[in-house]
Protein backbone atom coordinates (compact mmCIF):
# COMPACT_ATOMS: atom_id res chain seq x y z
CA UNK A 1 0.00 0.00 0.00
CA UNK A 2 1.50 3.40 -0.96
CA UNK A 3 2.47 5.79 1.81
CA UNK A 4 -0.24 8.52 1.96
CA UNK A 5 2.36 11.02 3.20
CA UNK A 6 4.79 10.40 0.35
CA UNK A 7 5.24 13.06 -2.31
CA UNK A 8 3.35 12.49 -5.54
CA UNK A 9 3.42 14.57 -8.72
CA UNK A 10 -0.13 15.70 -9.60
CA UNK A 11 -1.81 13.90 -12.49
CA UNK A 12 -2.40 17.09 -14.50
CA UNK A 13 1.33 17.95 -14.30
CA UNK A 14 2.22 14.53 -15.73
CA UNK A 15 -0.28 14.98 -18.57
CA UNK A 16 0.99 18.51 -19.22
CA UNK A 17 4.59 17.22 -19.29
CA UNK A 18 3.68 14.48 -21.78
CA UNK A 19 1.97 16.99 -24.11
CA UNK A 20 4.92 19.41 -23.92
CA UNK A 21 7.41 16.59 -24.59
CA UNK A 22 5.35 15.41 -27.57
CA UNK A 23 5.27 18.96 -28.98
CA UNK A 24 9.04 19.38 -28.51
CA UNK A 25 9.62 16.04 -30.27
CA UNK A 26 7.29 17.01 -33.11
CA UNK A 27 9.01 20.39 -33.61
CA UNK A 28 12.43 18.67 -33.42
CA UNK A 29 11.45 16.11 -36.07
CA UNK A 30 10.01 18.84 -38.32
CA UNK A 31 13.23 20.86 -38.01
CA UNK A 32 15.59 17.90 -38.54
CA UNK A 33 13.71 16.46 -41.51
CA UNK A 34 13.13 19.88 -43.05
CA UNK A 35 9.40 19.21 -43.49
CA UNK A 36 8.62 22.44 -41.64
CA UNK A 37 10.75 24.43 -44.07
CA UNK A 38 13.60 26.79 -43.42
CA UNK A 39 13.64 28.76 -40.17
CA UNK A 40 14.62 32.43 -40.00
CA UNK A 41 14.47 35.31 -42.47
CA UNK A 42 15.51 33.09 -45.41
CA UNK A 43 12.11 31.42 -45.22
CA UNK A 44 10.46 34.72 -46.14
CA UNK A 45 13.03 35.78 -48.70
CA UNK A 46 12.40 32.91 -51.07
CA UNK A 47 11.10 35.36 -53.67
CA UNK A 48 10.02 34.26 -57.11
CA UNK A 49 12.71 34.53 -59.78
CA UNK A 50 12.73 38.09 -61.05
CA UNK A 51 11.02 38.47 -64.36
CA UNK A 52 12.85 40.11 -67.19
CA UNK A 53 11.29 43.48 -67.79
CA UNK A 54 11.07 44.29 -71.46
CA UNK A 55 11.12 47.97 -72.08
CA UNK A 56 8.61 49.15 -74.58
CA UNK A 57 10.03 51.42 -77.25
Amino acid sequence: MPDPHAYRTPHWVKMFGIIVLALILLIGILMITGIGGEHGPGRHLRTPTPTLEVQQP
Partner: protein, 172 residues
Protein backbone atom coordinates in the same frame (compact mmCIF):
# COMPACT_ATOMS: atom_id res chain seq x y z
CA UNK B 1 7.36 38.82 2.30
CA UNK B 2 3.60 39.32 2.06
CA UNK B 3 1.85 42.31 0.55
CA UNK B 4 -0.86 44.27 2.25
CA UNK B 5 -4.33 43.53 0.76
CA UNK B 6 -4.49 46.99 -0.80
CA UNK B 7 -1.08 46.72 -2.44
CA UNK B 8 -1.85 43.16 -3.56
CA UNK B 9 -4.99 44.37 -5.34
CA UNK B 10 -3.06 47.19 -7.01
CA UNK B 11 -0.25 44.83 -8.09
CA UNK B 12 -2.79 42.31 -9.42
CA UNK B 13 -4.53 45.04 -11.45
CA UNK B 14 -1.21 46.12 -12.98
CA UNK B 15 -0.18 42.51 -13.69
CA UNK B 16 -3.54 41.67 -15.32
CA UNK B 17 -3.41 44.82 -17.44
CA UNK B 18 0.04 43.96 -18.81
CA UNK B 19 -0.73 40.26 -19.30
CA UNK B 20 -4.09 40.69 -21.03
CA UNK B 21 -2.60 43.58 -23.04
CA UNK B 22 0.17 41.23 -24.19
CA UNK B 23 -2.42 38.70 -25.44
CA UNK B 24 -4.37 41.44 -27.24
CA UNK B 25 -1.22 42.84 -28.86
CA UNK B 26 -0.22 39.38 -30.13
CA UNK B 27 -3.73 38.91 -31.55
CA UNK B 28 -3.38 42.26 -33.39
CA UNK B 29 0.08 41.20 -34.63
CA UNK B 30 -1.41 37.94 -35.90
CA UNK B 31 -4.04 39.90 -37.87
CA UNK B 32 -1.24 41.93 -39.47
CA UNK B 33 0.64 38.70 -40.24
CA UNK B 34 -2.43 37.31 -41.99
CA UNK B 35 -2.85 40.56 -43.95
CA UNK B 36 0.82 40.44 -45.04
CA UNK B 37 0.36 36.88 -46.22
CA UNK B 38 -2.98 37.09 -47.98
CA UNK B 39 -3.23 40.60 -49.38
CA UNK B 40 -2.54 41.23 -53.07
CA UNK B 41 -2.14 44.96 -52.44
CA UNK B 42 1.54 45.94 -52.18
CA UNK B 43 0.66 48.93 -49.97
CA UNK B 44 -1.13 46.66 -47.51
CA UNK B 45 1.73 44.12 -47.38
CA UNK B 46 4.32 46.86 -46.87
CA UNK B 47 2.21 48.62 -44.22
CA UNK B 48 1.55 45.31 -42.43
CA UNK B 49 5.27 44.48 -42.13
CA UNK B 50 6.09 48.00 -40.88
CA UNK B 51 3.23 47.80 -38.36
CA UNK B 52 4.38 44.33 -37.23
CA UNK B 53 7.88 45.64 -36.49
CA UNK B 54 6.52 48.68 -34.63
CA UNK B 55 3.91 46.69 -32.69
CA UNK B 56 6.48 44.06 -31.82
CA UNK B 57 9.18 46.36 -30.51
CA UNK B 58 7.03 49.09 -28.93
CA UNK B 59 4.02 47.15 -27.64
CA UNK B 60 4.60 43.38 -27.41
CA UNK B 61 8.18 43.42 -26.06
CA UNK B 62 7.51 46.04 -23.32
CA UNK B 63 4.23 44.35 -22.32
CA UNK B 64 5.90 40.92 -22.11
CA UNK B 65 8.73 42.21 -19.91
CA UNK B 66 6.30 44.16 -17.71
CA UNK B 67 4.11 41.08 -17.41
CA UNK B 68 7.06 38.94 -16.31
CA UNK B 69 8.23 41.56 -13.82
CA UNK B 70 4.81 42.12 -12.24
CA UNK B 71 4.23 38.36 -12.21
CA UNK B 72 7.43 37.90 -10.20
CA UNK B 73 6.28 40.59 -7.76
CA UNK B 74 2.87 38.92 -7.44
CA UNK B 75 4.20 35.43 -6.80
CA UNK B 76 6.90 36.51 -4.37
CA UNK B 77 4.55 38.87 -2.51
CA UNK B 78 1.74 36.36 -2.01
CA UNK B 79 1.33 32.92 -0.44
CA UNK B 80 1.86 31.23 -3.81
CA UNK B 81 5.61 31.79 -4.09
CA UNK B 82 7.59 31.17 -7.27
CA UNK B 83 8.62 27.52 -7.03
CA UNK B 84 6.16 26.03 -4.53
CA UNK B 85 3.18 25.38 -6.80
CA UNK B 86 3.27 23.79 -10.23
CA UNK B 87 1.00 26.39 -11.79
CA UNK B 88 3.32 29.27 -10.81
CA UNK B 89 6.43 27.34 -11.88
CA UNK B 90 4.95 26.37 -15.27
CA UNK B 91 3.73 29.94 -15.75
CA UNK B 92 7.25 31.25 -15.10
CA UNK B 93 8.84 28.74 -17.48
CA UNK B 94 6.30 29.37 -20.28
CA UNK B 95 6.50 33.17 -19.88
CA UNK B 96 10.31 33.12 -19.96
CA UNK B 97 10.27 30.81 -22.99
CA UNK B 98 7.80 33.08 -24.83
CA UNK B 99 9.95 36.16 -24.09
CA UNK B 100 13.18 34.46 -25.26
CA UNK B 101 11.53 33.36 -28.54
CA UNK B 102 10.05 36.85 -28.96
CA UNK B 103 13.41 38.59 -28.45
CA UNK B 104 15.12 36.17 -30.84
CA UNK B 105 12.40 36.61 -33.47
CA UNK B 106 12.03 40.41 -33.42
CA UNK B 107 15.33 41.20 -35.25
CA UNK B 108 14.04 39.04 -38.14
CA UNK B 109 10.79 41.04 -38.17
CA UNK B 110 12.77 44.31 -38.24
CA UNK B 111 14.93 42.98 -41.08
CA UNK B 112 11.86 41.92 -43.10
CA UNK B 113 10.15 45.28 -42.42
CA UNK B 114 13.25 46.98 -43.88
CA UNK B 115 13.12 44.66 -46.91
CA UNK B 116 9.38 45.39 -47.31
CA UNK B 117 10.07 49.12 -47.35
CA UNK B 118 12.36 48.79 -50.38
CA UNK B 119 10.82 45.79 -52.17
CA UNK B 120 8.66 45.91 -55.26
CA UNK B 121 5.40 44.03 -55.86
CA UNK B 122 6.75 40.55 -56.67
CA UNK B 123 9.37 40.63 -53.91
CA UNK B 124 6.79 41.88 -51.43
CA UNK B 125 4.40 39.04 -52.18
CA UNK B 126 7.34 36.63 -51.79
CA UNK B 127 7.85 37.82 -48.21
CA UNK B 128 4.65 36.14 -47.10
CA UNK B 129 3.41 36.74 -43.59
CA UNK B 130 4.30 35.85 -40.04
CA UNK B 131 1.80 33.33 -38.70
CA UNK B 132 3.67 30.55 -36.93
CA UNK B 133 5.37 32.61 -34.22
CA UNK B 134 2.34 34.72 -33.19
CA UNK B 135 -0.05 31.75 -33.41
CA UNK B 136 2.11 29.55 -31.19
CA UNK B 137 2.81 32.53 -28.94
CA UNK B 138 -0.90 33.16 -28.55
CA UNK B 139 -1.45 29.49 -27.68
CA UNK B 140 1.27 29.63 -24.99
CA UNK B 141 -0.22 32.86 -23.57
CA UNK B 142 -3.70 31.32 -23.43
CA UNK B 143 -2.32 28.27 -21.57
CA UNK B 144 -0.68 30.66 -19.08
CA UNK B 145 -3.97 32.55 -18.75
CA UNK B 146 -5.90 29.35 -18.00
CA UNK B 147 -3.31 28.27 -15.40
CA UNK B 148 -3.50 31.68 -13.73
CA UNK B 149 -7.29 31.73 -13.57
CA UNK B 150 -7.85 28.10 -12.46
CA UNK B 151 -4.72 27.78 -10.30
CA UNK B 152 -4.78 23.95 -10.38
CA UNK B 153 -3.73 22.26 -7.13
CA UNK B 154 -0.33 20.68 -6.86
CA UNK B 155 2.79 21.36 -4.82
CA UNK B 156 6.25 20.95 -6.26
CA UNK B 157 8.71 18.77 -4.34
CA UNK B 158 10.25 21.98 -2.96
CA UNK B 159 6.85 23.39 -1.95
CA UNK B 160 5.86 20.10 -0.32
CA UNK B 161 9.11 20.01 1.73
CA UNK B 162 8.67 23.66 2.73
CA UNK B 163 5.07 23.06 3.81
CA UNK B 164 6.16 20.05 5.91
CA UNK B 165 8.87 22.14 7.57
CA UNK B 166 6.38 24.89 8.41
CA UNK B 167 3.92 22.33 9.77
CA UNK B 168 6.57 20.92 12.07
CA UNK B 169 7.66 24.38 13.25
CA UNK B 170 4.18 25.72 13.94
CA UNK B 171 2.85 25.00 17.44
CA UNK B 172 -0.18 22.70 17.30
Amino acid sequence: MTMTPQFRKFALTVHLTFSVGWIGAVAAYLALGVAAMTSQETQTVRAAWLAMALTGWYVIVPLSLASLLTGLVMSLGTKWGLFQHYWTLITLVLTSFAIVVLLLHMPTVSFLADVAQEANGAELRGLGGDLLHPALGLLVLLVIQVLNVYKPRGLTRYGWRKQNEQRMLSPS
